[in-house]
Symmetry: C3
Subunit: 143 residues, 3 copies
Amino acid sequence: MPVYQVTTAADLLSDEQRQQIATEVTRIHTSHTGAPELFVNVVFSEVPAGRTFTAGERSQMSFIVGQIREGREIEVRQAMLAELSAMWIEVTGHGDRDLLLAIQENDSRAAMEAGLIFPAPGTEAEWFTENKDKLVALGLVEA
Amino acid sequence: MPVYQVTTAADLLSDEQRQQIATEVTRIHTSHTGAPELFVNVVFSEVPAGRTFTAGERSQMSFIVGQIREGREIEVRQAMLAELSAMWIEVTGHGDRDLLLAIQENDSRAAMEAGLIFPAPGTEAEWFTENKDKLVALGLVEA
Amino acid sequence: MPVYQVTTAADLLSDEQRQQIATEVTRIHTSHTGAPELFVNVVFSEVPAGRTFTAGERSQMSFIVGQIREGREIEVRQAMLAELSAMWIEVTGHGDRDLLLAIQENDSRAAMEAGLIFPAPGTEAEWFTENKDKLVALGLVEA
């Protein structure tokens, strides 16, 4: 965690754009929060054309919804939203007219990766130290 | 925001039913909350048959999950659930036996559309006034 | 509710594994919470290979996200996460290196199944008694 889910109409994005977006989402999240890159997941889902409606009519809306660990200041979350929106325009060439972004919070104590409960925001260094043996064994960090 | 995600088995719904459901979800949300139609998104996702289980056995469950801006009274949310459930029966011809609905709340300060942070519930009019130039330029409201 | 959403790359799981996972998720949730089996839904979604990124690079991450009724002790949620993670290793033969799990809470008052608002955790028996006629009519419980 975080998990950023990007949902678009089918074929809106190319493989290259998906890679660029994943790189940028990871950079934006880690630079604003100090979270380790290893925690940042981006998943791209598609729906067939014609399956998204806005104001009751078929639309071209895309969605970026980030599930992040609870506890980031609202100013941090809003700065990430602004940067994600600007990134979308630059990478896709689409405007921000048809993009909805949301950041949702999840109790870090109720999320797990590699069999380990996530640390609270700001306590990542201690977590890596405590769990170093397992993380090295899994190849997730260097010895 | 809101975003209502409708998840069903593949081919449960026709294009016409999807349009009807989108129209009705939009009407139900705006009439109960006073939110503008422009904010209401409906997305239809499908999973292949046999990918949904209830009580450990394959089921025909469909799901309507609405992510709405935080702060609506519980009575409003429950009235929307009841009306959505009744609408489902009428539009699809299926009963409510295999329909699960949920409304989740998202901090309006942590959601963005058209590059703009959403207003809190009840402050939409001020928001449209403040952001009129951009919204007109995007063609989202009339000049 | 709960709804457990399992998201993987396409073809990671077989039909038999999906059935086993659904059975085990249902057992784990009911044994830790006392919730009735009837409430437990598991949905399997897939994304094409190459659509999941971790630390900015393509990854094989799978996701199990449970939306449960609000109010379970954190110890209960963490015990479920640990057991779900161990179950994943056993059923899939994959390690827990590429599995992210999260449990999210939803206000039980804002969720509905079979046209009925869900009971709060711990009040299921009263709910079944109050709604017995409808539940029997729908074939969801025995007379």
